[in-house]
């Protein structure tokens, strides 16, 4: 069964080149990728993740608001009983924030220079085959 991924852009920056490149790479790796477009609130992202029943959410943020937005997505997922959905982050994330995000429950942070192969490999390894 194909892995289902939501690629989402929380916050107000208008740069989704990176998100689109990742979305295409995941599609080419045989996954079903749902892309929701720019400027999504955490509430919109979580609701889309639930309706689409995705295995993983890839958040991309280049505005610097990741410390507020990423944990909020995790919180809402747990509130909706969907805490099992894997969440990763990407974009311009200062290195010192990475441990904090991971502590909050972000499974992995992919900074600039990450290859799409690395992302694909991470997802394949960490998404639990559902029963």
């Amino acid at each position: 069964m194909p892995i289902r991924v939501l690629v989402a852009k929380p916050g107000l920056d208008g740069h989704d080149r990176g998100a689109k490149v990742v979305a295409k790479a995941l599609r080419d790796a045989g996954m079903e990728v749902i892309y929701t477009g720019l400027r999504q609130t955490p509430g919109q992202i979580v609701e889309a993740a639930i309706q689409e029943d995705v295995d993983i959410i890839g958040l991309s943020c280049l505005s610097g608001a990741h410390m507020a937005l990423f944990p909020r997505v995790l919180e809402l997922l747990r509130e909706r009983g969907a805490g099992d959905v894997l969440v990763t982050g990407g974009g311009i994330i200062p290195l010192e924030d990475v441990p904090k995000l991971k502590k909050a429950g972000i499974a992995e942070v992919f900074g600039p220079g990450t290859t799409s192969d690395e992302i694909v490999a991470f997802i394949r390894k960490n998404v639990k085959q559902r029963t």
């Binding site: 194909p2 289902r4 599609r27 790796a29 996954m31």
Partner: protein, 313 residues
């Protein structure tokens, strides 16, 4: 509590899970689906088809907003093709439906055809049952109107909208075969562009040629989905079609036809699987090899498979 029961109480996560299991062809949901089928049948199912770029997603977004204004709940199933090479898919219909994304009266699901044209219609029919059970008054099914499989997807709906845009004479040519016959309503979207009159004339002409006279003459509605022009009128016409079907006693007949097609499709699918399961994969490959080397006609290969089955019984 089973998934079907949870869906009936409005549990959106259960609905989403159930649709995934349907897509995966999971046999363990069969009883749940039977439950949904027997309890369901309330929703009006609307199909929207048309070439890529006709503005289907934007139009559906606006239709859903209009129905929400009128107090209706709306489910949306957007079917997109998967890549024939990797099986992956990029599903982007939600981009154009953002205003709906946190409305609890709306449920949007993107589905990929998973390289299996026959299967997508089957999964769509069951996904529609889930959204019906979730209490959606209107369930919209969106698909690119090219090819047999998309026409098959439209088999599961009560009302078919065919969306065209002006300025592409060939576009209307392309929808002639197959799609024109199944349209209950025609929408000329992007009607602020040049060529609207020509598109309308062409549609009218083809409709006159093809349609048999019944209680319903397919109307042609002009819209500009981006601005919302023509949307209330279109919603009015769609609801009118639904009322007409029920008033004229056509609903039962249409349900019967849809169920007949669905049962036949499932039967074909199962029959093929059961025939092949008794015929070993190696033997099957050998048979195909002979056909490819022109020692055997495909007809005779089929006869051989069916003959072997009879012998074994």
């Amino acid at each position: 509590m089973g998934l079907a029961e949870k869906v009936a109480t409005g549990d959106r996560r259960a609905a989403a899970r159930l649709i995934s299991m349907i897509e995966d062809g999971d046999e363990s949901v069969r009883t749940e689906l039977a439950d949904l089928h027997c309890r369901g049948g309330r929703a009006h199912i609307v199909g929207v088809t048309g070439s890529p770029g006709a503005g289907k997603s934007t139009l559906i977004h606006k239709l859903a907003l209009e129905w929400r204004r009128r107090g209706r709940t709306v489910g949306i199933i957007a079917v997109d093709p998967s890549s024939p090479f990797t099986g992956g898919a990029l599903l982007g219909d939600r981009i154009r439906m953002q205003e709906l994304s946190t409305d609890r009266g709306v449920f949007i699901r993107s589905m990929s055809s998973r390289g299996n044209p026959g299967g997508v219609a089957k999964a769509t029919a069951d996904a529609v049952r889930v959204l019906d059970a979730l209490g959606m008054d209107k369930v919209i099914v969106e698909t690119v109107g090219a090819g047999q499989s998309e026409v098959a997807v439209m088999d599961v709906v009560h009302t078919v909208l065919v969306v065209v845009v002006p300025g592409l004479g060939d576009d209307i040519q392309a929808i002639k075969a197959g799609i024109l016959e199944i349209g209950d309503l025609f929408v000329i979207n992007k009607a602020d562009r040049d060529g609207v009159e020509a598109a309308q004339r062409e549609l009218e002409m083809m409709l006159e040629l093809s349609s048999e006279k019944g209680p319903w003459t397919p109307p042609i509605v002009k819209t500009v989905a981006r601005t919302g022009d023509g949307i209330p009128e279109l919603v009015g016409k769609i609801d009118e079609h639904w009322e007409m079907i029920r008033r004229e006693g056509l609903l039962e007949e249409s349900e019967r036809q849809r169920c007949r097609r669905e049962v036949l499709e499932l039967l074909k699918h199962k029959a093929v699987l059961s025939l092949l399961s008794e015929y070993g994969p190696d033997e099957f490959d050998a048979l195909i090899h002979d056909v490819a080397r022109r020692k055997l006609h495909p007809h005779d290969a089929v006869e051989r498979i069916m003959g072997d089955k009879k012998r074994k019984n």
